[in-house]
């Protein structure tokens, strides 16, 4: 199908031929999978769309699906921008993603077990020990500790992009406290409310089964000797930016949403304070960082955690999900060894591509990086949320020099990758009242339990709302789209 310029909301759609467009092929025709949707959307006037967009926004606001922004003196509530044009993933394409995500989660789990026990992969020099010895997330406290069920990364968020070659690449694995899954579900709800008419033209997988699978996974890693485990979600509290997600997960699993002050440790068990007295807690899905978990073992002034919790964990009387110390493996430097890690533990070729990575810690690669900064993305190894990233072709001469100096001062802290060209997707832009190309990525959610695994059929498609921007994180002004995985 040719792009019909009579569709008013697509009238301003400019196609940059250098970018991989998810909707249009090289000849400017709508790809088969999007035809029906495009037809349906093409029938809407600009006013219709403005209206729908406002309604969707109000729906998020009224549902309290918001996060707090602390600028100036007063806190403000904001919604995570949501786009009404869904991203569609074909069944065979999804199958590769799903298999690849499970493969990575399993390999990372085996890697974590190894580096906290026999350390074979380090002894054999397949992963340099220096990557871990300098990592604050490699916790000595976790040495020789067997987490219930042998699972470390129960919940993994894998960030994928589609490059201009049309292939998926993994950008990073998030196995500490990956967030965003509640948006997958609320995006679906919002889209259904606004454009219910489009759903009956596609056979899309439901995304509402995440919570029951998560509860299944949590119950599968119950401590030894417990029959019916009591699971809870541990939140830092209602002022945390992901609080909506914490309360959503607790509510949809039907478990208590606790704060550190609701829990206490006595006689080597964890209890929560209820109106009927203490109740034992067996599995804690915690959404606070390792260093806040227990002031006796980690940061002493943390009031978010539970004094004595780690002692209970070490004795196997409670399960912490994800296990402490998983941050050692989702480090950007470890990422670059993922192909080797997958081969080492699973004896398989990686299903999902890794981006070619240059380690500034290695002299020859450092040299290459310093000479080719304009063609590279330079990232600090240990920053989350898109901070500290320099994109080579956006830098002035002076900025390039500054980046070089930073790298030279601390080579171990930086890696560099070729500038990946994220695919683009038609996205509704409020200022111009029309659709424009915007870069997108995809975060998938994988669950790993004792003899159980699950990948949410869907995911969070994040959009960089600023024109030309490659950074999709919500903390950097990104939005998101509903993501449809089609049934075979």
């Amino acid at each position: 199908m040719k792009l019909n310029t009579s569709h008013p909301i697509f009238s301003a759609y400019k196609k940059n031929p250098k970018l991989f467009d998810e909707i249009f092929n090289k000849n400017g025709e709508v790809k088969q999978i999007y035809t029906k949707l495009f037809e349906l959307y093409g029938g809407l006037s600009v006013e219709d769309f403005v209206n729908l967009n406002d309604k969707a926004k109000a729906s998020f606001f009224n549902q309290g699906i918001t996060f707090q922004v602390y600028s100036e003196a007063k806190q403000k509530e904001k919604i995570f921008p949501f786009d009404l044009f869904p991203r569609i993933i074909a069944p065979d394409e999804w199958q590769t993603i799903e298999k690849g995500a499970i493969q990575r989660s399993k390999a990372l789990n085996l890697f974590l077990w190894d580096i906290y026990h026999d350390k074979k992969i380090l002894k054999q020099g397949i992963v340099p020990v220096s990557l871990l010895s300098s990592s604050v997330n490699y916790l000595d406290q976790m040495m020789d500790l067997d987490p219930p069920g042998g699972i470390y990364n129960h919940v993994s968020g894998t960030d994928l992009i589609k490059h201009s070659d049309g292939k998926y690449y993994v950008l990073e694995d998030n196995i500490r406290c990956p967030s965003g899954v509640s948006y997958v579900i609320s995006n679906r709800t919002a889209l259904k409310r606004a454009l219910f008419g489009v759903f009956n033209h596609y056979r899309t997988h439901s995304v509402t089964d995440y919570a029951e699978n998560l509860l299944d996974i949590l119950e599968s890693v119950k401590p030894h000797g417990v029959d019916q485990p009591t699971c809870v979600v541990l939140t830092p509290g209602m002022y945390n930016s992901a609080y909506y997600e914490h309360s959503y997960l607790a509510k949809s699993m039907g478990v208590e949403l606790v704060e550190g002050r609701d829990l206490y440790v006595e006689n080597n068990f964890v209890y929560m304070k209820t109106i009927k007295g203490p109740e034992r807690v067996d599995v804690i899905y915690r959404r606070i960082d390792d260093h806040f978990l227990d002031p006796f073992e980690f940061m002493p002034d943390s009031s978010l955690g539970v004094p004595g919790l780690f002692s209970v964990y070490r004795q196997g009387n409670v399960c912490i999900v994800n296990a402490p110390g998983t941050g050692a493996a989702d480090d950007k430097a470890i990422y670059t060894f993922m192909p080797e890690i997958i081969k080492y533990y699973l004896g398989e070729e990686p299903i999902l591509n890794n981006v070619q990575t240059y380690h500034c810690s290695k002299p020859d690669q450092l040299q290459y990086v310093l000479e080719n900064i304009p063609d590279l993305v330079v990232k600090p190894v240990d920053e989350a949320g898109g901070y500290g990233i320099s994109i080579g072709n956006r830098l002035t001469k002076q900025q390039i020099q500054e980046v070089k100096d930073q790298i030279k001062a601390n080579p171990r802290k930086y890696i560099a990758q070729p500038i990946m060209s994220l695919s683009v997707h038609a996205t509704y832009i409020e200022d111009s009242h029309s659709f424009e190309q915007r870069h997108i990525d995809l975060r998938t959610f994988t669950l790993l339990g004792k003899d159980k695994e699950f990948v949410l059929k869907g995911g969070l498609t994040r959009v960089a709302l600023q024109k030309g921007n490659l950074i999709v994180n919500s903390s950097q002004g990104g939005g998101s789209k509903d993501t449809w995985v089609l049934k075979k």
Binding site: Q63, G64, G237, Y243, A250, K251, D262, T274, I275, G277
Partner: protein, 315 residues
């Protein structure tokens, strides 16, 4: 249920109910005063003072000239004033936020919408023209919230705790209104017979408690002090009466404490005791010393709340 969450739900109920009473007190007093029979009841200064008295922020200086807009703003939208209506709504929503996983989406969404509507209400419009519109909106929204509480969450412990909060707050507010209006009636006496007993303030009192029409239906005559006290304190069929609230509080505490043993240290025992006391009270006895009865009742309601907190929220 978590003790902290129970505490949040209890206070959510209280703040929702309290918001309603602040709004209605403003509305009824202001609009009743416009054509009140007693010149004092018509006086703006008198009405404004009564409002501040009811809010627990009485003005002691008799010569102080109050500014109407300032007083209205202070009671409603002043975020600096911890007792203001907007802060009550903020507290209600904060409490709902920290217990939102326990309640229905429908209930949470209504509270959240209410919060945003109050936050975004045009303050200038309110000061000039919006008193009626805004106060009616608040009282209607609180009724919607009670409807969602009743109709969308399980009638288990969670419901019992919210309803404990609502009913204790309602009883407290009714007693405070009686207190304020008793005070007003002493000053603005009626024009026939026993001036105090027949003050117009008893009418206002009933209206503040949304009980005027029902009082009429039952008594078929203009309210006086005895009939009003009877109706607002002792008539168990009146959903706004203290007696009705105490009965509800007792029924809800039974959900939390189903033990058959009458342990004298429990709040259940204490509530039962107060409830029995009021079941057999007579309005004329109360009228003999209204002030002392009011103080005593307020004190007992505070003790009930404290005992609930100690027993259930403070593990």
């Amino acid at each position: 249920m978590l003790a902290r969450v129970a505490n949040n739900l209890f206070w959510m109920g209280r703040y929702i109910e309290r918001s309603e009473y602040i709004a209605r007190y403003l509305n009824v007093n202001y609009f009743s005063s416009l054509d009140a029979p007693h010149p004092l009841s018509q006086s703006r200064q008198f009405v404004l003072r009564s409002m501040l008295f009811m809010m627990g922020q009485p003005v002691s200086d008799p010569d102080l000239e109050l500014d109407e807009e300032e007083v209205f703003f202070d009671i409603t939208f002043n975020e600096e004033n911890p007792f203001s209506l907007i802060n009550n709504v903020n507290y209600a929503r904060d409490n709902a936020n920290s217990s939102r996983d326990q309640m229905s989406t429908e209930l949470y969404e209504s509270i959240n919408k209410f919060y945003h509507a109050v936050q975004n209400y045009p303050v200038e419009f309110f000061k000039k023209k919006g008193l009626y519109d805004f106060t009616v909106y608040v009282t209607e929204m609180t009724a919607v919230l009670r409807g969602k509480i009743r109709g969308t969450i399980l009638h288990d412990e969670i419901y019992a705790i919210i309803m404990l909060g609502i009913n204790l707050e309602r009883a407290t507010q009714i007693v405070r209104i009686i207190n304020a209006k008793y005070n007003d009636a002493k000053l603005a006496k009626g024009s026939y017979g026993d001036a105090f007993r027949n003050s117009y303030e008893w009418t206002t009192l009933l209206k503040c408690g949304e009980s005027y029409d029902m009082h009429r239906r039952l008594n078929k005559k203009a309210p006086n002090s005895i009939s009003t006290l009877n109706f607002m304190l002792l008539n168990a069929q009146n959903p706004k009466s203290v007696m009705n609230c105490l009965n509800q509080v007792y029924n809800h505490i039974l959900v939390l404490d189903s033990s058959l043993i009458n342990d004298k240290s429990t709040v259940k025992f204490y509530i039962g005791k107060i409830r029995s006391e009021y079941e057999f009270k007579i309005a004329t006895e109360i009228e003999d010393d209204i002030q002392e009865n009011i103080d005593d009742l307020l004190n007992k309601l505070t003790i009930i709340s404290q005992k609930i907190e100690e027993e259930y929220f403070n593990y």
